[in-house]
């Protein structure tokens, strides 16, 4: 009689122990995150890189249009040459947001590469031949504004063996702004993030 009671108590204690050891998920305070670094790219890396690139771009004066007004800018390709599956918009959205907030640039979603375009710009124009729509409300020809500047870039990863069991991972963020009229590069910057850690902690 005693032994079944004991085994029951033991099982209950074990269940409590297991439940107590389970880690409870926690929200990250993204404004004050002092968690340790990771070998891959995390949101803090994108945040710091975007900040560095935007600071350089804004202080360069490259976005100041001679004679006043705002430049119209299109997003070109951001090549992901890393071993990670990165949605390059994670970086570009922050940069586009800051450029537009500066009041010096307007981004176009009519022309661009990938997710930077809005298909509705052209779909709305296909309504010109439809009898279902009041044609006076349909978008007219020749209303789109062509881009004057383009922003393009590349993210590169290099893995280097640092010590016997350590790897150094270097991420290069390259960005440039081109004047589409003349084809001249108005601004360019490269920012590097380096990480060292155990070779066991993979970076892809």
């Amino acid at each position: 009689m005693r032994s079944p009671l004991l085994s029951l108590a033991g099982a209950a204690a074990l269940a409590l122990l297991v439940a107590g050891c389970q880690s409870i998920p926690q929200n990250i305070d993204t404004a004050n995150d002092d968690g340790h670094a990771v070998m891959g790219l995390d949101y803090r890396d994108f945040q710091n890189t975007a900040n560095s690139l935007v600071q350089s771009l804004l202080s360069s004066g490259a976005l100041r249009k001679p004679g006043g007004g705002q430049y119209v800018m299109a997003s070109s390709t951001i090549v992901n040459d890393t071993m990670q599956r990165i949605d390059t918009d994670q970086l570009m959205v922050k940069i586009r947001e800051s450029m537009m907030a500066s009041g010096q640039v307007v981004m176009t979603s009519a022309v661009g590469v990938g997710d930077a375009t809005d298909k509705m710009v052209y779909q709305a124009r296909e309504l010109r031949n439809s009898d279902e729509f009041n044609q006076s409300t349909v978008l007219q020809k020749g209303t789109l504004v062509a881009p004057e500047l383009s922003i393009a870039g590349k993210i590169i990863q290099r893995d280097i063996r640092y010590e016997r069991n350590k790897t150094q991972v270097e991420y290069y963020f390259q960005l440039m702004v081109t004047d589409l009229t003349k084809g001249l590069v108005l601004w360019q910057k490269e920012d590097v993030i380096g990480k060292r850690g155990s070779s066991k902690s993979v970076s892809w």
Partner: protein
């Protein structure tokens, strides 16, 4: 001859003493807030503000690491317009910099837009990881 030598030695000792006692005075500016815990390790010696060629305000603060170890710092800059309304910016998140031992670091930050005319800069020691 002997007194001449003594004079030279005295001058050298005095120069060494002065160099060793060189003090960098902290800059009292309400726009820059340094964590008191950094009191003896960090001094802000100069603050310059200007409008750049894009008509955006820029601030540059000279930070001096008074210690003998590289000092990692977290820096945040909040920008405000004339009415004191905060302007959204990537600099409102903590960014990590590091200042080499016994060296200066020029912290330069550009305002997010033309309306930003005032700022608050917060500095504290970054966690080493």
């Amino acid at each position: 001859m002997r007194s001449h030598r003594l004079l030279v030695l005295g001058c050298l000792a005095l120069a060494g003493l002065l160099t060793g006692c060189q003090s960098v005075q902290p800059l009292p500016d309400p726009r820059i807030s340094v964590d008191p815990a950094l009191g003896r390790s960090l001094a802000v010696t100069r603050l310059v503000t200007m409008r750049n060629q894009a008509d955006l305000m820029e601030m540059q603060a000279t930070l001096v690491n008074l210690g003998y170890q590289t000092l990692p710092l977290d820096v945040r800059v909040d920008w405000f317009d004339l009415n004191g309304i905060k302007q959204g910016s990537l600099t409102e998140k903590w960014n990590t910099i590091s200042v080499s031992r016994q060296a200066e670091f020029s912290l330069k930050v550009t305002a997010p837009n033309e309306q930003a005319t005032d700022f608050r800069c917060y500095i504290h020691e970054a966690k080493r990881n």
